[in-house]
């Protein structure tokens, strides 16, 4: 365990090795928030307008909620895996008494902690500037479920990145393509752009079977108290089952991939 703790500390230093880079990344996030915020603010310029069951207050609450949940769930370093496999840098890790995925999961967590620290500061400032209607959940049971759903989402997201990155074993040249696909899925099927409940019920049913809505959409719904106890339970169980499935699949694919690994270049 100590090895991953040391790695955790080192990741922090690494993230801050290029402070300007990091600051720019945070600025990008802030601008993105402004963009999404003003987009919806304009769409719902009439405060009485209701579209897809959302009025202005509700949609802005969702959007602002995204601002909080995004850095927690989506800050991840493990997108580098694809490149490492295709450039042969994976060899470095295979030589060490170390689990490759635990290594990257640790780096993901370090990245999240750092991003959350900054996001917390930004969100406070933005909240004071934009003064969005924000819903404060106070029921402990929902808060607990929300934290659980976030933990599940974090694990789920890292597993998804691992899985999508490992296609590189068989397609060395297309290292980035699949990771890009995952980013698309996360945004469109995960609720990163629009709340998924604006979609028609049958489509929602299909999407809810996939792992993606459990990244951003479901945790937010739980926080906003939009799900009943039963629905909250189903949501948590479904994402738990996905974690189990992906855990097994990732390990299987890894075992196969590592056998075809050519350690090219290095």
């Amino acid at each position: 365990m100590k090895k991953y703790l040391t790695l955790f500390k080192l990741s922090f230093q690494q993230e801050l090795a290029y402070p300007i880079n990091f600051v720019m990344w945070r600025i990008r996030n802030v601008i993105q928030i402004f963009l999404i915020f003003f987009l919806w603010d304009t769409v719902f310029s009439d405060p009485n307008k209701i579209a897809f069951g959302y009025d202005k207050a509700k949609i802005l609450t969702y959007v602002f909620g995204l601002v909080v949940v995004r850095p927690i769930v989506l800050s991840a370093k493990s997108f580098e895996i694809a490149g490492e496999i295709s450039r042969g840098e994976l060899s470095n890790y295979l030589l060490k008494p170390l689990s490759y995925f635990k290594f990257w999961f640790t780096r993901d967590i370090a990245s999240k902690v750092l991003n959350i620290l900054f996001a917390f500061f930004e969100i406070t400032v933005l909240y004071l500037i934009l003064r969005p209607p924000f819903f404060f959940q106070i029921q402990p049971i929902y808060l607990l479920a929300f934290v659980m759903s976030l933990v599940f989402a974090i694990v789920l997201y890292s597993l998804l990145i691992f899985l999508f990155s490992m296609f590189t074993f068989w397609n060395l040249e297309q290292a980035w393509g699949f990771a890009f696909l995952l980013l698309l899925f996360t945004d469109f099927l995960g609720g990163g752009i629009i709340p998924l409940d604006v979609l028609s019920a049958p489509i929602q049913k299909v999407i809810n079977v996939l792992p993606f809505p459990y990244l951003l959409f479901m945790p937010l719904q739980i926080y906003l108290g939009k799900l009943s106890f039963a629905q909250t339970g189903v949501s948590l169980v479904t994402s738990g089952v996905w974690i189990l499935i992906l855990f097994i699949v990732v390990n299987l694919v890894w075992k196969k991939g590592i056998k075809t690994y050519k350690a090219e270049g290095k």
Binding site: L7, L10, A17, K96
Partner: protein, 329 residues
């Protein structure tokens, strides 16, 4: 255990994507990928005793690095048996990985943006090196390689030679019993090369470590490896003492004569291939079986002050090995 490395009938096949020239080639390979099977290793066998230092040589693409990668557990073999220190490398048991190290001149494990000592600390944790042992090893390595002043410098600001030294420290911190060195002196200046060689010999002796070394640097081999394994096109064509390499492969001997009078060089050429003329000295290379008769002819037909018969220099043989010009006997 009397052998630390055992390799038997080790085979490795690769599937390689073939791509045509230019844009059209790229497009056609997208539509119809052509794959070619490469037999990188064709069933090689050898074994190495504990504490031995073996040079692994051969032309580019002969299978040297592939062998090292399999021995260190990075690659799975297609077929064959390998046992290193009682372990099967590609199972990558943590106990095994703690006992070996693979060092490649073109590979780096150091964290690029951080000082090298951070990587060392991380490796200390990863390899679970006890604090006292770590202190002892690192201070020794730092002293031998003379890198004390550079520990706090971010790796990206180090020169290639300095970085190689740091890579070496990082790779040896856990005191491996078996070390695979792939081109350890590549890109280093002459002085650094010599230091590296001294270090390898030193490490081998001090820790009784088993070392396999591949190199394209003649001096690396001549100065430090007693035993060499020559590999070409995935097959071992020689395995023995470096000094026997000449007897094994040299088809010619070298006759050096000192002439006391101007001679007809055409007549000399009929005896053997003239390698060098630096009057009064002439160097002729003759086929081994004909050495004695050639010497006799020389002494009879020319006014010779002095005559010596020598073996082909080991450097020439190794040069031929790198060119891939040697065949299995």
């Amino acid at each position: 255990m009397d052998r630390s490395i055992i390799v038997e009938r080790l085979t490795k096949n690769f599937e390689v994507n073939q791509k045509g020239k230019g844009l059209t080639g790229t497009i056609s390979s997208l539509i119809q990928p052509k794959r070619r099977l490469v037999n990188a290793l064709k069933g090689i066998s050898f074994s190495i005793k504990p504490g031995e230092l073996v040079g692994f040589i051969g032309p580019n693409g002969a299978g040297k690095t592939t062998t090292l990668k399999i021995l260190s557990g990075i690659l799975y073999p297609t077929a064959g048996f390998v046992n290193v220190l009682g372990y099967t490398p590609w199972e990558r048991k943590h106990d095994y990985l703690k006992k070996i190290s693979l060092i490649m001149g073109q590979k780096n494990q150091l964290w690029w943006d951080l000082p090298a000592q951070e990587t060392f600390e991380l490796n200390k944790a990863i390899y679970e090196i006890p604090a006292r042992e770590y202190q002892r090893t690192i201070s020794e390595l730092i002293k031998i390689l003379d890198v004390e002043d550079l520990l706090a410098t971010p790796v990206r600001k180090l020169s290639l030679g300095q970085r190689m030294k740091m890579e070496l420290v990082a790779a040896l911190l856990h005191n491996p019993k078996v070390v695979f060195l792939d081109e350890p002196t590549i890109g280093l200046d002459l002085i650094a090369q010599q230091k590296m060689r001294d270090f390898i010999v030193d490490y081998n002796r001090k820790f009784e470590a088993t070392i396999i070394l591949t190199s394209h640097n003649m001096d690396d081999l001549v100065n430090i490896a007693k035993r060499v394994i020559v590999i070409d096109s995935g097959e071992i064509i020689f395995d023995g003492n470096l000094s026997d390499l000449v007897n094994h492969f040299a088809k010619e001997k070298i006759i050096k004569v000192s002439l006391s009078k101007e001679v007809d060089f055409q007549k000399l050429e009929s005896i053997g291939e003239i390698k060098e003329i630096n009057l009064p000295f002439v160097t002729i290379s003759v086929p081994r079986p004909a050495t004695a008769s050639a010497a006799a002819v020389l002494l009879q037909s020319f006014l010779v002050d002095d005559l010596t018969i020598e073996e082909t220099p080991i450097e020439d043989i190794i040069r031929q090995v790198f060119k891939g010009g040697l065949k299995k006997k």
